[in-house]
Subunit: 203 residues, 2 copies
C-alpha cells in the first residue's frame, strides 16, 4: 500500500474521531466506536493509531505542514510580514472548510481535555523543530544554536496565541474576515518578534 493511501486513510479516520471527540468527549469515545465510524475493524484502527489521542494528529499536522511549507518558501529578501500576506492565504484555501473547522475544534477541545492537550503539545514541539530548521538556514546557524531555538520558541508562542484566538473567535463558524484578521495579527507580531530577536542575536 502506498504511503499516500495510508495518509489518506489516517486522515479519514482522524475526521471521524475528532467529530466523536467533540460530540461526546474523548474519554467517552472508545476505539471501537471510532473504528466503526470509520468503517475499519478495531484491530486495524489500532494499527493506524498507537493511541486514541493521536487521532487528532493527521488533521493538525496537515495545517502545521502547510504553514511550514509557506515558511520554507520565504524568500530571503522579503520581509516576513509581506511574505505571509502574500502566501498564507492559499494555505487556508487549500484545505476544505470542514477540515479548518475541525482543526479549530480540536484546538478548543485541548482546553479541558488533558489527553488532547498532551498530544497537541507533542505536535507543537515537532513543529517548533521544523521552525528552527527554517530559521537556522536563514540565519546560517546550526539548528541547535540557542538563538535559533529561542527565536523558534518565540515564533511558536505567537502562533499558539494566534491560533487560540482564532479558534476562540470562530466558535460559531469561521469567516473570511476572521481568518484575515488572524493572518494580519500573526504577521505583524511575528515580524516584530523576529526582527527584535535577530538584532539581539547579532549584537
Amino acid at each position: 500500500m502506498s504511503d499516500e493511501q495510508r495518509q489518506r486513510q489516517r486522515l479519514d479516520i482522524s475526521r471521524h474521531a475528532v467529530r466523536l471527540f467533540a460530540e461526546q468527549g474523548v474519554a467517552a469515545t472508545s476505539g471501537e466506536q471510532i473504528a466503526q465510524a470509520a468503517g475499519v475493524s478495531e484491530r486495524t484502527f489500532w494499527r493506524y493509531f498507537p493511541h486514541k489521542e493521536s487521532c487528532v494528529e493527521p488533521l493538525l499536522t496537515k495545517m502545521v505542514d502547510a504553514f511550514c511549507v509557506v515558511l520554507r518558501a520565504w524568500p530571503p529578501e522579503l520581509e516576513l510580514i509581506d511574505h505571509l500576506r502574500e502566501a498564507y492565504t492559499p494555505v487556508l484555501d487549500s484545505a476544505s472548510d470542514e477540515d479548518v473547522e475541525a482543526v479549530l475544534e480540536v484546538v478548543r477541545l485541548t482546553h479541558g481535555e488533558p489527553a488532547l492537550r498532551a498530544a497537541y503539545l507533542m505536535l507543537r514541539e515537532r513543529a517548533e523543530d521544523a521552525l528552527a530548521d527554517v530559521l537556522a538556514k536563514r540565519l546560517d546557524l546550526p539548528p541547535t544554536a540557542i538563538e535559533v531555538k529561542v527565536q523558534a520558541a518565540a515564533m511558536s508562542a505567537v502562533l499558539k496565541v494566534a491560533t487560540d484566538d482564532v479558534a476562540q473567535a470562530s466558535v460559531e463558524g469561521v469567516t473570511q474576515a476572521g481568518l484575515d484578521g488572524h493572518r494580519e495579527q500573526l504577521a505583524t507580531t511575528l515580524s516584530l518578534v523576529l526582527r527584535c530577536l535577530s538584532q539581539a542575536a547579532a549584537g
Copy 2:
C-alpha cells in the same frame, strides 16, 4: 490527612518510580511494581497518581516551583542577571543531591520516552503560565497580553535549552562547576532575551 503529608508521600513514590523508569524503561515498569517499591498497595498508588507518567511530576515541580519562587522574589530595581546570580544557587542547595540527579535523569529520559515527554511538556506549560504571571506583574500588563505570553515563552525556551544542556552534561554526575556554568548561561541569555523583548513591547 494534611496536604503536606500527601505531598511528601507523592514525592516519595515519585522517587521510586523515577528510579524504576530509569532502570528498566517506562513501559516495562508496571504500576504494581512502583506501588510495591514505594510500600503502598496498588490501589492507593493509583489514587495518588492518575497516570503512570505523572509519577515524575512531584520531583519536577519541586524544581520548577523553586525557580518560580526565585523569580517572584526578583526585585524590580535589580537586573535579572544579578538577581539570578544571587538567588539561584540556594535553589539547588535546598534540594538533596539525589533529587537533583533524579530530575536531570527524568529530563534525559524524556528524549526517548514519549509518554514522559508529554508529561514534561504539560508541566512546562503550567510553568510557563506561572512565568507569565510574574512577568505580567512586572510589566503591569494582564497575563493574557501577547507581549507577556511571548516573553514567557521565550524565557521558557531558554530554560528548556539550559536544562537540557546541564542534563546532558551531567550524565556522569553533577558537579558544582557544571551547575555554576548552567546558572551563568541561563542568567545571561535570559537577561538578553528579556531586555530585547521588553524594548519591542514598549516600542
